[in-house]
Amino acid sequence: MNIIRSTFGALLAGSLLASASVAAEGAQAGKKVIFLGADDICEYCAVYNDQIRKLAAEKGIDLEVVTNKFDPAQQATQVDQAIAKRPDAILLWTIDGTALFPAMRKVQRADIPLLLTDVQPDKAREDLWVQYTGGNYEEQGSKSAQLLINALEAKGKPLEGGVIMITGIVGQAQTISMTKGFTETLADLAPNLEILGAQPGNWDTGTSTQAAAGLFTKYGDEIVGVYAAEDIMMQGVLIAAERAGLDPTEMAMVGGGCEPVGIKNIKAGLQYGTVLQSPVDEATYAVQSIVDLFNGAEMSKSVYVPHPMVTAENVDEVCQPWPTN
């Protein structure tokens, strides 16, 4: 936290300054790319935004960052705006998984190459974009299920009993995919583990605390494992468990993201593990995607960032602390 970090001018047009051209090699240098991303109010997004600005500048890409307060309607108009500016490419973080197909069609008709990041829409429409780089939410959910089973095994518990889920905001594409991946894998690998209840934690610690507290009251000792889609929500689950007098080390506590608070909890032994999704990785992949595009490299439709399972054993090697500036 640095209060006097930037002047108001830099604040207003941070992206323009950040993209001041640095001598860089490759066909991408000097190309104009518009990145339509998410607002800094979400920490993950803030790290991603900082990172992509930095990496693009290194590569000499003229990157313009436009953020969005998780409002698909606003993002659709931002796509219109971006097309009007005739950039060499558009990099799009679709706030809502599928809301932007019509807007993507406009980009296609305008003959502007479209790259996607972070949120992967329905693959049936992948003719609309050149490449997706980023997380695979269904895989993340699936890995979380796997990790939960590993945790029970590691603790020497049978694969039976109840599991509760704390999900993201209801209706979001990520939430839908992660939930799907988790439930399907769990049903496949451990049919005797029953999902007792699921409540949204809205990517927020406080909401997750209340939601988990309710489920702990209802199911109490029946619960052998908890899946929270994000580490900051697992933090809420841990608080609720402590209040309910439950020992988190006795349960399979699985989060997601390998966020700073998750690293802390894993090291403290309160949380068994998490599944990595790093904003640094995602931003790096996205910039690579831009570089590949302009250098005529072969582009596969989907490139996923790695989602290794993380436990106390490998947390230090896998999870890099999020950079601050």
Binding site: M1, N2, I3, R5, S6, L11, D39, D40, I41, C42, E43, C45, A46, V47, N49, D50, V170, L196, G197, Q199, P200, N202, W203, D204, T205, G206, T207, T209, Q210, A211, A213, G214, L215, F216, T217, K218, G220, I232, Q235, G236, I239, A240, E242, R243, A244, G245, E259, P260, V261, K264, W322, T324, N325
Partner: protein
Amino acid sequence: MSAATLSRTSGFGGLFAPARVQATVIQIATVVMFLAACAFIENFASASNISSILYAASTVGIAAVGLASVTISGNLFALSLGSTAAFASIVYIAASGWGVLPALAASVALGLVFGLLQGLVVGWLRCNAIISTIAAGSLIAGLATWVSDGRTVLAEGGPSWLGSGTLIPGVPWQAVLFLLIVIVGEVLMQRTRAGWELRLRGTNPDAAELAGLRVTRMVVLSYVLAGAGAAIAGALIAAQSGTGNLRVGADLDFSAIAAMLVGGVAIGGGRGRIIDVASGTLFLAVLTNILLVNNFAYEVQLMVKGLAVLVAVTAGALLARKKR
């Protein structure tokens, strides 16, 4: 007791006077609902579940008490509570190295300053109350984003007594703080000159002005209290989780408004007491907890909450009319 001698709330009949009937009904409903849940829902009466209800009620309730001073003084409501709480959560965690009380004091100071500025804009410069607080909410959120750079701040060390300590099992310190604030608020509002002036201002702003009451000061005061309430709520949320970020207090504005209105505070000003805010908050917290404990789907929870607001207000209006 001056409040009792000069208002219709005295005596048993006063509880059901038109102006008080909604508040009384909600108080009874809260108790009945609570007892029924204790009897019929397994584990509901457990210490951990009671404390979970109290944690949820304390944060929203403290913000709602502050907000109520704005409403009772006749300025409808403030929409800057959420961002004030978010900023306060960040300040609390950043300052938590100094200890719990200094960190709490730092957050409250922040809330006081933001409240004071809004109070001056609304009270002294006589600007539109709603838009001023929407503008303030946006400005505060902007400052908080700038200062925090969007990052979650984590507390050093383990949980503090304010975050997870209890007086007795089931009664967290946060609930004690809430109770204290309600009592102090109630006494200030009913028994002090400033409280009387604030309520009279809400009843009739023009008459209060012509009666020479200190209306500007009262309006400023109400926003200062609202800012402080929101900041304490933010600090408490931060203390619970050991984290502070911009998402804290995302639903605080409308939760606090709903709690206050359900409790029987009139949106038009002048009517309602601080204890009503507490009972409205507890009513919604118990209701939410019952739904959560029974694992009702999120959509059902929302719809029941919406219905509760509608029914409480409808019943209040109908009963008040019948009494007339």
